[in-house]
């Protein structure tokens, strides 16, 4: 299952500056594990030590916040769009 993942600026140091990458997996969790394999360092930024999505990270699956789906267990299918968006904007 190949999905498209949009990467926010603060995480692009793990993707060599690329703002969109591919990943495989049948759930958000599996996609994150694949992202970690391809771009080490991503997982720790997205999930806490218990494996839950960090409070300041929003992940959208085809435009829907996964917190209102099945969180990291949300199922994904081939061609889905995933966006990782920091919960805040930084700056003042």
């Amino acid at each position: 299952m190949a999905v498209r993942v949009r990467v926010p600026t603060p995480l692009r140091r793990f993707t060599a500056g690329v703002d969109e990458v591919s990943a495989d997996g049948t759930s958000i969790n599996a996609v994150i594990e694949d992202l970690e394999r391809r771009h080490p360092g991503m997982r720790e930024r997205l999930l806490d030590e218990k494996g839950d999505i960090r409070r300041f990270v929003n992940i959208y699956l085809n435009g829907d916040d996964i917190r209102f789906l099945d969180a990291i267990n949300s199922k994904v299918k081939d061609g889905d769009d995933i966006s990782i968006v920091p919960a805040i904007a930084g700056g003042r």
Partner: protein, 349 residues
């Protein structure tokens, strides 16, 4: 802010307050203000001593105070630089009738500019990432400002770039305070925040701790305090990673560094994690009865670290705003599970 200081009976949990009272508590009587404009209400915020949260955690000879900047009329510390930048812009002839005030801001500066623009009769346009909190967007709109939304994936740097483009299309139309590069930002704190802290602590301040967004607060206040006593330590607080959830703060190593930020003037810099700052927000609410935003939680974490590292001293930090603007944000995800016992873990780090 017009305040009078009064004594109230303290609960047994704060019984050690008596010992501190012997070191001359600050009691200032400020006449009731009569203001012609909201501009006259900016500054002179209370200095609040954090005692309940720190009980048993910091040495007896150390006190921690926080400037409660939420008492400014626009609700944040940003009223100070916004007023000064407008004042200097008008004095230099860059801001005059017919001009539109424009800037990139993720919130508090936008609120301050929108409020002051309304009071002075200038239209205001703001560029902000679309993922800033709903409350902020509504407040800015309520003051009559127009919002341009930038891509949330690009963060505050995306808003800065979009704002530049907007001005390039019609440079004569706009006055851009440019909080990141306008020395009037730091000057506002040199002229107001610094002197207030010096006066409110009776010159006893030994450490100044402030979170960095533009760097204006830490630069201007730090400069003033060092001009009064070169031994005052000036310490900045920043997110511990580029990927963070501390609205208003900048991780300098991964950001466009503001022109007014000069790291060499700092004595130290303390990195703070988003989650520990969030938990400190809960702790401040439940122990001190002060509901603040996440940047204040980060500032308090750092102030506590400083306080625990010294034997004597007066640590002053800045609580940039109150927490009501963040009630719809991720700051409050999972707060119901938070228990006061967690405080020990948060402060043990």
């Amino acid at each position: 802010m017009a305040t009078t200081s009064q004594s109230f009976p303290r609960l047994p949990a704060d019984a050690d307050a008596g010992a501190r009272n012997s070191t001359a508590p600050v009691r200032e009587i400020v006449p009731v203000a009569r203001a012609l404009s909201v501009l006259d209400l900016v500054g002179n915020t209370p200095l609040f001593e954090i005692t309940r949260l720190t009980a048993g955690l910091i040495p007896a000879g150390v006190r921690i105070f926080a400037k409660l900047e939420g008492f400014n009329p626009g609700g944040s510390v940003k009223d100070r630089p916004a007023r000064k930048m407008i004042e200097v812009g008008a004095a230099e002839g860059k801001l005059k009738p017919g001009k539109v005030i424009v800037d990139s801001t993720s919130g508090n500066t936008g609120i301050a500019l929108a409020m002051l623009g309304a009071a002075l009769g200038y239209p205001v346009e703001l560029v902000m990432p679309s993922n800033v909190s709903r409350e902020r967007k509504k407040i800015v709109g309520a003051y009559g400002a127009r919002i341009h939304y930038s891509d949330p994936m690009e963060g505050s740097d995306g808003a800065i770039i979009m704002c530049r483009r907007l001005i390039e299309q019609n440079p004569a139309r706009y006055f851009k305070p440019d909080q990141y590069n306008n020395e009037a930002n730091a000057l506002a704190h040199f002229e107001t925040t610094g002197p207030e802290i010096w006066r409110q602590t009776r010159g006893q301040v030994t450490h100044f701790v402030a979170a960095i967004g533009t760097g204006g607060t830490v630069m201007g206040t730090g400069r003033f305090l060092k001009s009064k006593n070169s031994a005052v330590r000036v310490i900045a607080v920043e997110p511990d990673d580029a990927m963070h959830g501390l609205e208003g703060l900048k991780h300098m190593a991964s950001s466009i560094v503001p022109g007014i930020y000069h790291e060499k003037e700092l004595d130290d810099k303390i990195p703070v994690g988003t989650e520990e700052a969030y938990e400190m927000v809960y702790a401040l609410g439940q122990t001190e009865g002060i509901l603040v935003g996440q940047s204040s939680g980060a500032a308090m974490i750092a102030a506590l670290k400083v306080a625990k590292s010294i034997r004597e001293g007066t640590v002053v930090t800045v609580f940039g705003d109150f927490g009501d603007k963040y009630l719809s944000t991720n700051l409050w995800i999972g707060w119901q599970q938070w228990r006061r016992e967690r405080l020990q873990q948060v402060t043990a780090r």
